[in-house]
Symmetry: C2
Subunit: 202 residues, 2 copies
């Protein structure tokens, strides 16, 4: 339990050179994943591309799974900040949630290999990745919550709302896994969320 607490989450720690190395590693990871997916993210290659030694890579990210989930965290960070600055369009909670998740889904589907790499890492992660996983989960929860209330504020949700948000997130992730692993079509993801949201937000 030394560093990565929830407050200094996305690696805003260490010297400038260290933050720079971390950035280069995540850049290389995302580039490789975008090109060739999970299998193409090979630790030796990441280290080479980021111009750090293999041992250094492992000092920053203790496993390939940590690395990819952290990359997912960085991507979600941008998406979440977008929902914080501008209100999500739509008349009803249903409309707004669908707007948000459809937009995010389409964004992910534009880079299928990258999404495959990150989603598979996310689903494969074990307890040792709890911190990174939790960060991603919180961001997703925050975004859906904002979509439901329609405001960029992120106040406390009622217990009922929290439960609904969780179910929506679960369905979205499952649908994404289905698409990523080639078990369903791209358009199915949106359909499945629409059904779930319709059933839940009525």
């Amino acid at each position: 339990m030394s560093s990565s607490s929830a407050t200094e989450v996305a690696g805003q720690t260490g010297s400038a050179a260290q933050r720079e190395r971390r950035r280069r590693i995540l850049d290389a990871t995302i580039a490789l994943a975008t090109e060739g997916g999970f299998d193409a993210v090979q630790m030796r290659t990441v280290a080479d591309d980021a111009e750090v030694a293999l041992g250094t890579l492992y000092r920053y990210f203790p496993s390939k799974i940590h690395l990819l989930v952290s990359a997912l965290g960085r991507e979600f960070e941008e998406a979440e900040q977008r929902t914080a600055t501008r209100a999500i369009p739509g008349e009803t909670p249903h409309d707004r949630v669908m707007f948000l998740l459809s937009r995010t889904t389409r964004m992910l589907q534009k880079q299928p290999k990258l999404t495959e790499a990150m989603v598979r890492a996310f689903m494969f992660a074990d307890a040792s990745v709890a911190g990174e996983i939790h960060e991603v989960g919180m961001r997703l929860t925050t975004m859906i919550s904002r979509a439901i209330t329609g405001s960029p504020e992120h106040g406390e949700a009622t217990e009922e709302e929290a439960a609904i948000i969780r179910v929506i997130a679960d369905v979205w992730l499952s649908a994404l896994v289905g698409w990523v692993t080639g078990r369903s079509e791209a358009t199915d993801v949106e359909k499945q969320i629409d059904v779930a949201v319709r059933l839940l937000l009525r």
Copy 2:
């Protein structure tokens, strides 16, 4: 596309000696997974324990993931047959679905290592495992459908019902993944399903 169609799914093919080998392999897999989880299922060890050569193991199951998902399929087969012979107790669809999923969850939680191995393989599986995955999905769908209607028959579900079943299955799997990967407590799984079922079946 030679063998494994939906009709001859669970390996009811080949000579008696071959069916016997297949059974020994799955037995060894489940024994190892029960003892030590995903990591303990090592292909060399499985082959040794099942008394087949490593090459033979790979002839029967083209990867560790195929192997573990097939093991999950065999376990689900028994569970599904139980729902086919006896009616699921409970007054309402909600009660019956909860009875079914609670019972199944508790059964899985009694063997945490085995469940961890199978669930992680299931979530990690890519398109090449589509057949095995589909089999498991169908069994789960069938069981939930029987619980909703309250009859061991497995008639066609309406589109609405099918969508609801899918959402319930997604939530159940997500909750299970959360538990397996140490992100949530055993009792959370039931709670999450209860919320989802309550929201969906009203």
